[in-house]
Amino acid sequence: MITPTHYMMLSTALFAIGVIGVITRRNIIVIFMSIELMLNAVNINLIAFSYQLQDGIGQVFAIFVIAVAAAEAAVGLGIILAFYRNKETINIDEMNVMRW
């Protein structure tokens, strides 16, 4: 029998993978993707509880999370493109100046 604990474990593990990705990788696109993984981990939790409690609010919040993720991806990737055009790199360790 699958209990909400199972879903929480899954979501925790997914979140941890996302954290590792964000911290260890230097390719900023991969870092962004790791953030998406973390957002998905959150969504899994929300939906699992929505199912458990038979309440649609969890799903509503998940939709908001997706909307925020879309906004984040659009702006973030725009910044990456603008940055790449100027510096020809997407290595986050080289993004160490506030202006150029």
Binding site: A16, I29, V30, V60, I63, A69, T89
Partner: protein, 170 residues
């Protein structure tokens, strides 16, 4: 029983593809694994009777956001691998340590938490499962109308912002 099998299979896919996303060197491959991960998550949503969200996950995440990632990956046509430069002050073990800490912490919360009750009986035929779209839609357009409108404003702002950032000359 079938639900358990489905859950474990999907979990394996989700975690396995997530690990591949984080570890693959080739960014395009990483994006592909991300898509597969999202599709598996969508299947998990179906398992949780959130059909509408599963469809939105595929439509918005897999079909929209990740395509954007793929575009950017293809546009930043890199001449040298992005990983070859590493700041001297950078220590990867801190990252692993931190995430291990997060994992332990969350595990502890789950472990010490009250023993969770089993899933609701007959969830597959409940109202939320059968009229998923209506229920979620009702909530979105009544109780959460203002957050919904704020989210739409956020998307509009993000759209304008992305265009201004990415366009070379306006």
């Amino acid at each position: 029983m079938a639900q358990s099998i489905a859950f474990y299979v999907l979990s394996t896919f989700i975690l396995g593809f997530a690990v591949l996303v984080v570890t693959t060197r080739n960014t395009v491959h990483a994006v592909l694994f991300l898509v597969l991960n999202f599709l598996a998550v969508a299947a998990l949503y179906v398992l949780l009777t959130a059909q509408f969200l599963a469809v939105i996950q595929v439509l918005v995440y897999a079909g929209g956001i990740v395509v954007l990632y793929l575009f950017v990956v293809m546009l930043v046509n890199l001449k040298r691998p992005p990983e070859d430069h590493m700041a001297p002050q950078r220590h990867n073990w801190i990252g692993f340590g931190l995430s291990a800490l997060v994992l332990v912490e969350l595990g502890a919360i789950i472990g010490y938490g009250a023993v969770a009750p089993a899933g609701p009986v007959g969830a597959q035929t409940s109202d939320l499962a059968l009229n998923n779209v209506e229920r979620v839609g009702m909530l979105l357009y009544t109780d959460y109308l203002i957050p919904f409108e704020v989210a739409s404003m956020l998307l509009l702002v993000a759209m304008v912002g992305a265009i201004i950032l990415a366009k070379r000359e306006l």
